[in-house]
Each structure stands twice: as structure tokens, then as C-alpha cells.
Amino acid sequence: MLKYVLVKRIPQIILVMFLALTLSFYLVRAIPGDPIEVMLGESPATPEMREHLRKVLGLDRPIHEQYLIYIQRLLSGDWGKSIFMGIPVRELIFSRFINTLLLATCSMILSIMIGIPLGVIAALKRESIIDHIIRGVTLFGYSIPVFWWGLILIYVFSVNLKLLPSIGFGTPQHLILPSITVATLVSASIARITRISMLEVLNQDYVIAGKAKGLSQYILLRDYILRNAIIPVVTIVGLNFGTLLTGSVVTETIFAYPGIGKLMVDAMYMRDYPIVTSGIFFLALMFSLVNLLVDILYTYLDPRVKLERSISV
């Protein structure tokens, strides 16, 4: 196991990181427009001033030279400085990522707590009125536009009931509305996957055999059905969590939540190269690590999955 992680996955992650870094570095510079245009576009700047700024920012050098300098600095722990804010990118990304991690964790816990029970109940009572209601609700949760839902929550809980803060960040209360907004979508997808996966397992012979053997409904559910049905759910949870870690721009914008998604999108619009490149590098790393964790979790949940085999074969 350890060997698998060290020999196979770590080099893989390093390769992914390198590719993500290189691609983002060159692609963001390949799209038209540059930070100088954005910064001086709305000011009466002379060509000499543009040149001065280009030099100050180090954008006057050949792109490959910039790339080498960037890699060199990155390896020594210097992620560059934001072009527009003049502050170190590492601080920016790190503080925003912590906020995003907080929101992602809360919404994920909420989603799992809502989604899995809903899916299980729907599957056990399949084709009953309860199943139909749950399926209807999850469809609603799945297809609802996030910006609209977030605003509805603000109007109900902040403007009318005055129970929760509408926007901002800092206290646990500030997390509630954004978490619910994000969790609505994610829990719906978890519930639907849980239901389908449960239904598949419920029809298996060993479940019927277990029933015939007289196992209690609870033990049957816990040790036989859920244990097998949970695998695809873990995949969905893992993927969703990975995505949430890269930020949820719409939710962050509506609730003025200082997450990493908005930082990255704004940086992209402004062509703030250091934030974009270092940000993608960091997020790719996080995404890879979450995926690795999910893979490892598989073997724990399902002993039939043996990760070692993939190298020994």
C-alpha cells in the first residue's frame, strides 16, 4: 500500500502538477489582453509608462525566461506577487483557500447528512409516495439555479426573519446560508446516486439470501447493502469535494464570501498572472490529494479493490 502510494501515485501527482503549472503558465499568457492593458486601459498612459510598468513587473523578458524564473522562485517558496495588489500570492491563496475549505467541509457534511439518508429511504420505499416525494425534492434541488436560491435564502432568513447575517464572513452564523446553498445541489446529487446504487444492491442474490436467513433489517442494511452501495457514493462525494475546494464562484459572489473561487475568477479577468498560475498549481495539488484519499478510501470500504495489483500486474 505504502509502496503503491510512494512509487505510483506520488510521481503521478508530481507529473500532473508540472503539467498543470506549465499549461496554466503559457495558456493564461496566450489569451489576448495583458495586465498592462487592464491596468492602464482606463488611464491616459503614455507608451513609455507602459514600458516602465512592463519592466517593473518583469513582463518585458522572453516568455521562456519568465517561465524559468517563475519555476525557480516557486521551488524556493516564492509564489510571486499579485500584479494589482502588490501582496504575496501565497498569503492570498492560502487565506482564501482556508475559507473555501471551511465552506466546502461544512457543505459536504451537511450534504452527506441529508443526501445519504434521503437516498436510502427512497430506495427502501421504492415506488411509494415517499420515494416520489424524495425524488421530486432532489430533482428540484439539483436543477435550482444557485444564484436565485442563494438570494431567496437571504431574503427569507436575513431580510424578513432577521435570523442570520446576509453576507460576510467571520462567525459560524456567516457559514450557514452559504453552506445550505451549496449543500442543496450536492446533497441532491448524493441522494440520487445513493438511491440508484441501493436499488442495484437490493436486487442482488446475497441480499435475498440474507433476508431468507432471517437477518434483521438493520444488520442487513448496515453490513450487506450499504457497505456495497456506498462505493459509487464515495466517488461522487470525493469528486464534489474536490470541485468545492476549487471554490464556488456564484455562492461566494452572492454571499460576499472570501473564497478562492472569486479570487481566481477575478484574477483571470484582470490577467493577474501570478495569482492564476500559482492558484491553479495549488488547486491542482489539492484536487490530486483528495482523489488519492478517495482511492485509498475505496480499498478500506471494499476489500476487493486492491490498489497494489495495479503495479504488480
Binding site: 486601459g41 488611464s43 517558496g77 431580510v159 476489500p303
Partner: protein, 560 residues
């Protein structure tokens, strides 16, 4: 069973290893953060994986107030209860703003509202304020007076007895330091003082600005927010304004507290909290919920509802002139009559009534009405038949393909306005294609001239001198002249006005230039973008300017 147990043990170990790697990474990142962030005033969420997820800023707090007066009481600020029920007279103002204060460094801040907020910390030499007629005039601020020694030397007398927040007196050294720092940083603000070649210190309270070439607007340029004076001791934190910066947390809030040693009148409001809320609907909801007391960039369609709920609205025509520019290097836009025809083709009043619900004003000159030398011009009336005939007279073929370039999300209702303009132009037989670019690409398209028409708003008059509305936009090859407009007569008038120190002469020259530009129509003249703010009914004395700047130094809450 044994195998699976062994397996799960290895699994657990690997999981633990990975978790350790992640946490080591996180700890590494924390330790690399230079000063350890102080605890934020609000309790950090309990589920937080690290001790302090907030306060990422390298400059989170300033030294405590030097005067240990009656300020040590803990802040009564609670963000989401309705403050009216808590305190009788509020002394904290919470602002919900569209833009964030991206950096506390005044020489780098962008976005006029953010700059205006920071001008409560870092002040400019002069200040643009209303006179009794509502026109914008220059008033002394950190400087008390100016005198032109000759065409390229401006002598400025500085105010005495002004203290910096972190100690030390404001003097000529600070002025020179600030100007040189601005130039070194480069960026948008630096371009406005490009003509300044040198700052000479005559004595502690007198400086002379030497210019590369005559530049009469200079005193007005010194009213522009980013051209502010910072302390050489600590340029990113330490200013002279009525408020000092106590906390800057990017994307969350910036907190200002009254500076008790301020040289001017002491502001009634003790504490200002700036919260960036980029989403329009959320910002309005935050005002309704009582989370914030004041919001800027109110969408016109929300005005009636907010007023019905008892909030106060201030709306003024902004300095930003919204227009559709022609690419004059391309046929047929090089023909003056064709450009005039397109001006006849647009029903500006309908655009303002239908899209802005009446909350905007039709452009009556390229110089803003509040700026001196403004001369109102006759608006091109809506006459599509006349427009068609004019196009016919110049053999413009029916269905001529026209590219109208724009960016969206930048100005109030920009997309809707562009679509309306396109629809009007289609009515006179042009085959208009709207091309939407993201801002950075758009800037490049404009500088390269790859368009027929383009929609833009320019706040050239931001520092209150007509030179900004005219020279920067209509002088051949000037910075904002994306139209590629070139008229030697206009160039001559504008150059002469720029070099002249006689204000009457300048005024006359600018009036002539306005007339020519209006007649030659390098733009489809549309409207002035409205500046709309909303706030609690008990807030008094907020000053809002056409540039989107505002002043809270005299604002206060009425007792209830």
C-alpha cells in the same frame, strides 16, 4: 480476516501519512506568512482546521491610537442585528460597496469608491468640492494655496500642524516622497502626473513642482484620489486623514477608526467598516437586512422599492460619459455626416426611460455639467428618417455589416444599452453585430482598432478639469482616443488651453473645442452614467460626488 485487518492497518497508516503531509504543508504556509496575524474581533469558526483562518493580510493592524482617551470600550458593532434597537445614536457606519479595497496602498488602489474611502486615511493636496451653485471647484486640503511661478513651475504652500497617524509631521519631504513613490510604482495614477519632472523643496512647507512641458490642469490633478500624501515612515499604513486604518482583511472588511489628532474638524462618526459585496442584489438585501448602513452602485430598478421601504437615495449624473465611439480610420465612419446620422438614429430618451427608469441624464456636452467651461449643446434629436436619408446621400449600402464591440458587467446596464443601440441602428438599415469581449481582450481590441463601433464610458473629468474630458479623449493620438479622431483645429485649441495659465482664455478655448467635437460627432453621445447610493434614513451629511467619490468626514446619525 487477518489479511483485511493488515490491509486496513496499512491503509490507515497511509491515510495518516497523507494527512500529515497536508498539515505539514499548511503549517509551512502559516510559518511563511511574515507577521503572525492577530486574532480577528469576531470568533473564528469552530470547525476551522487552523487556529486563525482570518486576517491573512501582511498589514492587518496599526499601532494603537497615541491618545489614550475614552476609546478602550469594546466595539458595540454586531453585524446582523438591527442596530437601531441596540444603541440610541450610532457611531459606526457600515458601508456595503461593490468594489473591494484591493490593497491599503493608496498609490495602487483602483476603483474610485475604494480610492475615495482610502482618501479618508490618505489625503490629497487639494480637494474637489461643490461650490454654492453645485459646480466642482478646487479647495485647499493638505496644501493651502498654489501659485504658478512660470508655465512650468508650480509653487504650493503646505498646511502647517498636520500630523501623521504614526507620528511625525506632514511636510515638504512627505510630498516629494509620495510623488516619487507614485512614479516609481507606475500604474494608472502615475500617468496623471507624468508631466511632473521634479519636486523641489523650498522650505519645510513650500514645494515647487517642475514640469516637462506646460500643463495647466496640474492643481486639479492634485485633487485626484490616488495622488495622495503618505508618510515616508510607513507609506502603506500611515496618512494624515480623519480616519486611520485599523484592519484590512481582503475580501472581508476594512475597518477605519477616527484619528483624534486630526488637523481638521473632528468627524462625528467614530468607526467606518467597509464591506465588499460584489453582487448587486445581495448588496441591496444587505441594506434591507440592516447588515450595512450605506450601499453604493444601486441598480436603478431597485430605487423605487428601497424608497418605499424608507431608505434614502442620492442620485447624481456621474462624471463617466457613456458613448459609442466610431473607428474613424475605417470607411464610412470617416464621413462626418454618417457619424451624425447615427446620432440621429438613437432614441436616447427612450434608453434612459426604459432601461434606467429615468434615473440618468442625456449627455449634453462631452464636458460634465459640474465642471467649469461646460457648454450645453443641442442634443441630436431622434429622427430615424433623417438618419436614413443621410446614409442614402452618402451611398451607404442597405445592410452594411457593422461590428459593435463591447465588454459587459463593467458599467450599469451596459449589455442592455448596447443591445438597444444595436436595435436602433438595425432600424436604419445597418446590419449590426454585437461582439462581446472580456475586459482585458476588449482593451486590446480598442488599442489595435479592430472594431467599427465600440461602447465605453470614460471618466476623463475625474479630477475636475475640462482638460481631462477633452485632451485625453479628442487630441490626436491621446490615451483615450480609441476613435482615432484627429482634427488639427481641435488639437490646436486643446494644446493652447493646456499651456495657458489664463483661466478665462482656457474657458473660451474649451468652449470652442466642445462645439467642434459636438458637430463632428466622433461619438454617438449617449448619457452620463448615474451615481446612485442608498442609506439609512437617519444618516445625514454624506457627500457624494459625480466621480463616485464620497466624503464621510462630516456625516452623522440623527438621534431617534
Amino acid at each position: 480476516m487477518n489479511i483485511s485487518k493488515g490491509l486496513s492497518r496499512t491503509l490507515l497508516i497511509t491515510t495518516v501519512i497523507i494527512l500529515v503531509i497536508i498539515s505539514v504543508g499548511i503549517v509551512y504556509l502559516i510559518t511563511l506568512q511574515t507577521p503572525s496575524p492577530p486574532p480577528s474581533p469576531t470568533p473564528s469558526p469552530t470547525t476551522s482546521p487552523v487556529p486563525s483562518p482570518t486576517s491573512p493580510s501582511p498589514t492587518p493592524s496599526l499601532s494603537p491610537s497615541p491618545t489614550p482617551t475614552a476609546t478602550p470600550t469594546p466595539p458595540t458593532y454586531t453585524p446582523y442585528t438591527t442596530p437601531i434597537t441596540v444603541v440610541l445614536v450610532k457611531d459606526t457606519l457600515v458601508i456595503g460597496a461593490k468594489v473591494d479595497i484591493a490593497t491599503p496602498d493608496i498609490h495602487r488602489v483602483t476603483g474610485i469608491p475604494a480610492v475615495a474611502m482610502m482618501n479618508h486615511v490618505f489625503e490629497t493636496l487639494f480637494r474637489l468640492d461643490y461650490d454654492e451653485k453645485g459646480n466642482l471647484v478646487i479647495k485647499p486640503w493638505l496644501a493651502v494655496e498654489y501659485k504658478w511661478l512660470n508655465e512650468t513651475a508650480l509653487e504650493v504652500k503646505l498646511r502647517k500642524g498636520v500630523k501623521f497617524h504614526c507620528g511625525g509631521e506632514f511636510d515638504a519631504d512627505a510630498v516629494r516622497f509620495s510623488i516619487e513613490r507614485l512614479k516609481e510604482i507606475g500604474g494608472p495614477a502615475a500617468s496623471t502626473i507624468e508631466p511632473v519632472s521634479n519636486v523641489i523643496i523650498v522650505d519645510n512647507y513650500t514645494v515647487i513642482f517642475l514640469l516637462k512641458h506646460p500643463f495647466a490642469p496640474l492643481p486639479y490633478v492634485f485633487t485626484y484620489g490616488p495622488i495622495a500624501i503618505v508618510s515616508p515612515a510607513d507609506p502603506t499604513k500611515c496618512g494624515t486623514g480623519p480616519y486611520k486604518l485599523v484592519k484590512w482583511e481582503k475580501g472581508v472588511e476594512t475597518v477605519f477608526e477616527r484619528f483624534d489628532d486630526y488637523w481638521g474638524p473632528k468627524p462625528p462618526i467614530k468607526r467606518i467598516i467597509w464591506k465588499p459585496i460584489p453582487d448587486d442584489a445581495s448588496r441591496v438585501a444587505a441594506l434591507e437586512a440592516g447588515t450595512v448602513d450605506y450601499i453604493d452602485s444601486v441598480p436603478p430598478q431597485e430605487i423605487a422599492r428601497l424608497q418605499a421601504k424608507g431608505f434614502r437615495i442620492l442620485e447624481i449624473p456621474g462624471i463617466r460619459t457613456m458613448f459609442v465611439g466610431f473607428n474613424i480610420e475605417r470607411w464610412p465612419w470617416n464621413i462626418t455626416e454618417v457619424r451624425q446620422a447615427l446620432n440621429y438614429a438613437i432614441d436616447k430618451k427612450a434608453i434612459i426611460d426604459k432601461l434606467f427608469l429615468g434615473h440618468a441624464e442625456i449627455m449634453t456636452s462631452v464636458v460634465h455639467p459640474a465642471i467649469w467651461s461646460y457648454k450645453p449643446m443641442p442634443v441630436y434629436p431622434y429622427d430615424p428618417e433623417k438618419a436614413k436619408q443621410m446614409l442614402k446621400a452618402f451611398n451607404i449600402p442597405e445592410g452594411l455589416k457593422v461590428e459593435l464591440a463591447t465588454s459587459t458587467g463593467r458599467y450599469l446596464l451596459d449589455r442592455e444599452v448596447v443591445e438597444a443601440v444595436a436595435a436602433y441602428l438595425r432600424q436604419i438599415g445597418l446590419n449590426v453585430e454585437v461582439k462581446i469581449y472580456d475586459w482585458a481582450t476588449y482593451m486590446k481590441i480598442l488599442s489595435e482598432g479592430r472594431f467599427d463601433l465600440y461602447f465605453l464610458g470614460v471618466a476623463g473629468g475625474i479630477y475636475g478639469d475640462p482638460d481631462g474630458c477633452l485632451w485625453l479623449l479628442f487630441r490626436t493620438k491621446a490615451g483615450f482616443n480609441d476613435m482615432r479622431y484627429s482634427n488639427p483645429e481641435v488639437d490646436n485649441l486643446l494644446d493652447k488651453a493646456r499651456a495657458s495659465l489664463n483661466i478665462e482664455e482656457r474657458k473660451m478655448l474649451y468652449e470652442q473645442a466642445q462645439e467642434i467635437i459636438w458637430r463632428e460627432a466622433p461619438w454617438i453621445f449617449l448619457y452620463y452614467q448615474p451615481v446612485i447610493v442608498a442609506f439609512r434614513p437617519d444618516l445625514e451629511g454624506v457627500k457624494v460626488y459625480p466621480s463616485e467619490a464620497f466624503w464621510i468626514g462630516e456625516a452623522y446619525f440623527k438621534a431617534r
